[in-house]
């Protein structure tokens, strides 16, 4: 299992040591700790690197899901404009939270997550990543609980939305016209693309998941059919009885094969698709950040413009407030320029990231497709072989 699994995210990260700088991480050995509602899964995170900033070539730390969330949130705050790799969903249905399959799926997703960061040319230099990969468990825990208060992203978003509505309302009331939305056709197109892509991928993932289920159901049906056929075979004395027993046994064997292939399908096809749904969602988060930055920039530019007019007026009137206003204006102007720069950085980064995203997507989705096709071919082959091996026996039975 461990060896077979594919890691789309890490396909670009060299795992073997070489003279080239490398940083490779693996998330392994999920262990359930604690009891009841407090229970959680901890993972062993193994880092191998030759980066000079790191303590040594290999480090092993124990991390839990919340630590990964911490890393994600830190990066999201600090690297505006970069598509931060997405995390697997936080909430799982309680019933499945500790099922082997769920744990394995999450482990794989976390492995992909951290390796995507480690292979990202900007993110891999992050101090937070270093902390995450190397800090002692106590330090990590302290950081996590300290930051979790500050990085409550959700309320901040809500506030922003609230502010947006407020400013829009006041705009209308005051008859002011402020461009709060970017009207760049290329950007519009990107936005449209991302939103639509999410729908398409979600649908594909849904069907992929259903297909996994269908494989399992067919497996179950085959197994039941096989059992019934064996019992029927027991009622029949001669050749036919043997024929039924043989077929029943084969059906049961194939059922096992189907169940195995269903698991492969889940890990190698459905999960990568789901991962891309999440990736697209994280791009949407970046788009929201960009919109924020744009709005800030516009607001500051507008305020600065007003201040400038005001300053000009004061200068003309030679008011003694002019010098004070000038200081204020300069500060504002600096802030406005800062905001513009921030926005422009985001735009530039996003352009870069979009290219990277598309290339990565082609590779990852291509791999998922390849694994899917390979798995199906393997399955169908197995089925054909199994049934074929039965034919001579049946032939012999009908002769006798």
């Amino acid at each position: 299992m461990e060896q077979e699994r594919s890691l789309p995210g890490s396909s670009l990260s060299p795992r073997s040591p070489s003279s080239q700088p490398y940083l490779s991480v693996s998330v392994t050995d999920p262990v359930k700790l604690g009891n009841g509602v407090q229970a959680y899964i901890s993972y062993r995170v193994i880092t191998k690197t030759n980066f000079p900033e790191y303590q040594g070539p290999e480090k092993i730390v124990i991390r839990r899901y919340n630590d990964f969330v911490w890393l994600h949130d830190r990066l999201f705050e600090k690297y505006k404009g970069i598509f931060i790799p997405s995390l697997p969903e936080k909430n799982a249905v309680e019933k499945f939270r500790f099922s082997a399959e769920f744990i394995e799926m999450r482990r794989q997703a976390l492995d992909i997550f951290v390796n995507r960061i480690a292979s990202h040319h900007e993110l891999q230099k992050s101090e937070d990543l270093r902390t995450f990969l190397q800090a002692e468990e106590e330090t990590m825990e302290r950081l996590r609980s300290h930051d979790s208060g500050i990085f409550k992203k959700k309320p901040a978003d809500l506030m922003q939305i609230f502010k947006d509505v407020q400013s829009k309302v006041s705009d209308i009331v005051l008859g002011k016209e402020k461009p709060v939305e970017e009207s760049n056709p290329e950007y519009e197109k990107l936005k449209h693309y991302i939103f639509e892509l999410e729908n398409h991928l979600t649908e594909a993932q849904k069907h992929a998941y259903r297909l996994v289920k269908r494989h399992r159901e067919l497996g179950q049906a085959l197994s039941d059919f096989g059992k019934a056929a064996k019992l029927l075979g027991a009622c029949e004395e001669n050749a036919v009885g043997k024929g039924f027993s043989e077929m029943g046994a084969k059906s049961e064997m194939l059922s096992v094969k189907l169940q195995k292939e269903a698991h492969q399908l889940l890990m190698n096809f459905e999960e990568p698709l789901k991962d891309y749904v999440r990736t697209v969602q994280s791009i949407k988060a970046t788009i929201a950040e960009r919109a924020n930055a744009f709005r800030q920039q516009c607001e500051l530019a507008e305020t600065t413009r007003l201040k400038e007019i005001n300053l000009d007026k004061l200068m003309l009137m030679r008011s003694d407030k002019a010098s004070e206003a000038e200081v204020e204006y300069k500060e504002l102007k600096a802030a406005s320029e800062e905001a513009t720069k921030r926005f422009e950085t985001i735009v530039a980064l996003m352009n870069q990231e979009t290219v990277r995203f598309q290339e990565q997507k082609t590779l990852d989705v291509g791999l998922a497709f390849h694994e899917f096709a390979k798995g199906q071919a393997r399955l169908a082959n197995g089925v054909a072989d199994a049934w074929r091996s039965l034919l001579p026996k049946l032939e012999a039975l009908s002769v006798s």
Binding site: H200, E203, F225, A234, A239, M247, H370, A373, A384, S398
Partner: protein, 695 residues
């Protein structure tokens, strides 16, 4: 068995009232509890007001507006492992002497309900039924019930003014109850009467609202629903123009072997359904038109005196044929006739219904043609060959028979005449020979409960073992057939899901191509297209695979249907035995009486004239009974022989059919799996540049 149940259950339609909801739920639960249960619909006749009161007392619901003369339709269930009744019931069903019973049992009322009401009707309607459906723990109580209700029955029979007047009262009650159908036509008994809340609402309600969330109608996916291939079965057209891997496998008919010897053949096709008007039967509004089918036969069997001929027949004719066959070929495994599926006139003419029936008829006739004895029978030949109206006499339906019998009963009672020898070769039927029915019934009760052993018992050990074995076989067959349906459904779902996935990916491809900014997006779109195409192909292959699987595994289903015929043949045997037993015990009591009379008359010197006369009469009766007994013995022997030869044939043909089914099924699986594997292997190759190994 499930599909039998559902098919039959469909006849029972939901009623808006809560009472009926409960009723349905209970029946459904009953069905769940007894998986291998045969459900039959029975016209239950409430004969007298006294009956009605009993009914009201025990009925677990309030039957408003129930009057004497009403016909109640109930669902009856017998769980085969527990009762011997099943075979008799199915026999009756197949010979269409209308079917049986079953009574509504709610948990609490079960036993009581059974005996106060149902048994009586059994006795009136059905010959030679055993009563082993009772739980053995309750035997004492039930036996008491049994006898008390038998007394009741006798009272009823004797006291009831069974004149033709009461008969006509009944008739008029029936007509006023629902003037939309002929009172004596059994199928129309199922037609609803709006005045009676106990009668089910019209079936066309269901058809009008096919999606109504009615738990009864939610039928499991049925084999025959899934045939995508041509109806004629043998040939499969393949999308790719390649020969289907299963082409050489079993024909669609499953059991319809073309002939027993290679040279003989009968090929029957049913086609060209036509609507016709019936001028003679205008009493039934809406029922005066029917559909005829063109039945074309090609054969090289000399007895047919021709190689190709066709006739027009309606479904009713097929019913007649099956009834006649059942009467003439007792003890044979006669393939079961398609269901009557009683529907309203308008529905009857629906394209879909007509087509379904056409297919069913063709299958049925082909199965008959595959039977080595039936295929050469006069009845079959006449049915296939004689132009115009079917000359086979129709058997009178049970209701009229019953009332004929009721009318004649006093005469029978007065005469105390023995049966005509030729009549004993037929099982007693409710009506025509009501007296005999009661006698045989009494005999079977004595067999079951009495301490005295019947003079003749089934002692063919081999046969009994065989019967036991067949019961196991039927259970496993039923389970396998059910699992086969699940398998078919799972394959079908797989096909559909592949199709949906393919469609979604095609949409994604289109989207990516339209929105493409970078070249890699086009590459990705192309990969998506490849996978989408493969998924759609896989979907199609799974679909074809499934259609073929259905055809192969349908053999299981066919055999399940044939088991009904086996039950029928076995119960012919036991009812013939019962006739023999009854006649034997009659004889012995006649002999006893004769001896007594002789003894008594010998005491009187010179003889007592009237006694001597009586004795003469008695001796005459003994002679006719003796004759009847001999005929009955021969009939029983004949049926035994038929059973034996049919069992042999059944075993032999089953071997061949099952083996060829297995081969066909497996070959089909191999063929399609190979194709599916090819499709995916090609795409795997096309996308191999993404695989980790190539990096």
């Amino acid at each position: 068995m499930d599909s039998w149940n559902t098919k039959l259950c469909r006849k029972l339609k939901p009623h808006p009232s809560k009472v009926h909801e409960k009723f349905h739920k209970d029946i459904e639960n009953l069905g769940r509890r007894t998986r291998n249960t045969i459900f039959t619909i029975l016209p239950l006749i409430v004969l007298s007001s006294r009956r009605r009161e009993d009914f009201l007392k025990t009925a677990p619901f309030e039957p408003e507006g129930l009057h004497s003369g009403h016909v109640l339709v109930f669902l009856t269930s017998f769980s085969p492992p527990r009762c011997s009744v099943v075979s008799s019931v199915t026999l009756l069903y197949s010979s269409s002497v209308v079917s049986s019973i079953l009574l509504y049992c709610s948990e609490a009322h079960q036993t009581k309900w059974y005996f106060l009401n149902s048994l009586l009707f059994y006795w009136i309607l059905f010959p030679g039924l055993g009563y082993r459906m009772m739980d053995s723990e309750n035997q004492g109580f039930e036996a008491a019930q049994l006898y008390s209700s038998r007394d009741e029955m006798e009272n009823l029979v004797l006291k009831e003014p069974l004149s033709s007047k009461s008969f006509s009262n009944y008739r008029s009650a029936m007509s006023s109850l629902s003037d939309s159908h002929h009172p004596l036509a059994p199928p129309t008994i199922l037609t609803p009467a709006d005045s009676d809340p106990l009668l089910s609402p019209p079936l066309d309600r269901d058809l009008r609202k096919p999606n109504a969330s009615d738990h009864f109608i939610s039928e499991p996916l049925h084999f025959s629903d899934l045939s995508f291939g041509p109806v004629d079965g043998n040939h499969v057209t393949d999308v790719n123009g390649v020969e289907s891997p299963s082409k050489s496998s079993v024909s669609s008919g499953g059991l319809s072997r073309s002939s027993s010897s290679n040279s003989d053949y009968i090929r029957i096709t049913v086609s060209n359904p036509q609507k016709e008007q019936d001028v003679s039967n205008s009493i039934v509004p809406g029922g005066n038109s029917y559909v005829t089918y063109l039945i074309t036969t090609r054969t090289n069997i000399p007895e047919f005196g021709g190689s190709e001929f066709s006739v027009r027949r309606r479904f009713k004719d097929v019913v007649t044929l099956s009834e006649r066959l059942a009467e003439s070929y007792r003890g044979f495994f006669i393939p079961p006739r398609p269901d009557k599926s009683v529907v309203e006139g308008q529905v009857m003419q629906k394209q879909e219904f007509v087509e379904q029936r056409r297919v069913a008829l063709e299958k049925y006739l082909r199965k008959l043609a595959g039977h080595p004895v039936i295929r050469k029978s006069d009845e079959f030949k006449v049915f296939l060959q004689v132009q115009g109206r079917l000359p086979l006499p129709t058997t009178t339906d049970v209701a009229s028979r019953m009332f004929d019998g009721a009318v004649n009963l006093p005469k029978q009672l007065l005469n105390e005449s023995a049966m005509e020898p030729q009549e004993v070769v037929q099982p007693a039927k409710g009506g025509r020979d009501l007296l005999r029915l009661f006698k045989e019934l009494k005999q079977s009760v004595t067999n079951d409960w009495g301490s005295s052993k019947p003079p003749v018992v089934e002692e063919d050990k081999e046969f009994l073992e065989k019967k036991e074995k067949l019961r196991d076989f039927e259970q496993q067959l039923s389970a396998t057939s059910q699992q086969a349906e699940s398998l078919v459904k799972a394959q079908q779902d797989m096909a559909e899901t592949f199709g949906e996935l393919g469609l979604t990916l095609i949409k994604l491809t289109k989207f990516e191509n339209e929105e493409a900014v970078f070249n890699c997006q086009r590459v990705c779109a192309n990969d998506t297209k490849n996978i989408a195409t493969a998924a759609v192909k896989a979907s199609r292959l799974y679909r074809e695979l499934n259609a073929q699987t259905v055809k192969h595994l349908d053999v299981l289903h066919d055999y399940l249907g044939l088991m009904l015929a086996v039950h029928g043949a076995f119960s012919e045997r036991s009812s013939a035995l019962l006739t023999e037993q009854t006649l034997l015990s009659d004889l012995s009591s006649l002999h006893t009486r004769a001896e007594k009379l002789e003894a008594a008359s010998s005491k009187v010197f010179g003889g007592d004239k009237s006694r001597i006369q009586k004795l003469e009469q008695l001796k005459e009766t003994i002679r006719t009974t003796e004759d009847a007994k001999n005929v009955a013995v021969r009939e029983y022997e004949r049926i035994k022989e038929n059973n034996r030869s049919e069992l042999e044939r059944f075993d032999r043909e089953r071997q061949a059919d099952f083996l060829s089914m297995l081969k066909g099924f497996v070959t089909n699986q191999v063929g399609y799996a190979e194709k599916i594997s090819d499709v995916w292997a090609k795409v795997a190759e096309e996308t191999s540049n993404y695989s980790k190994e190539s990096n």
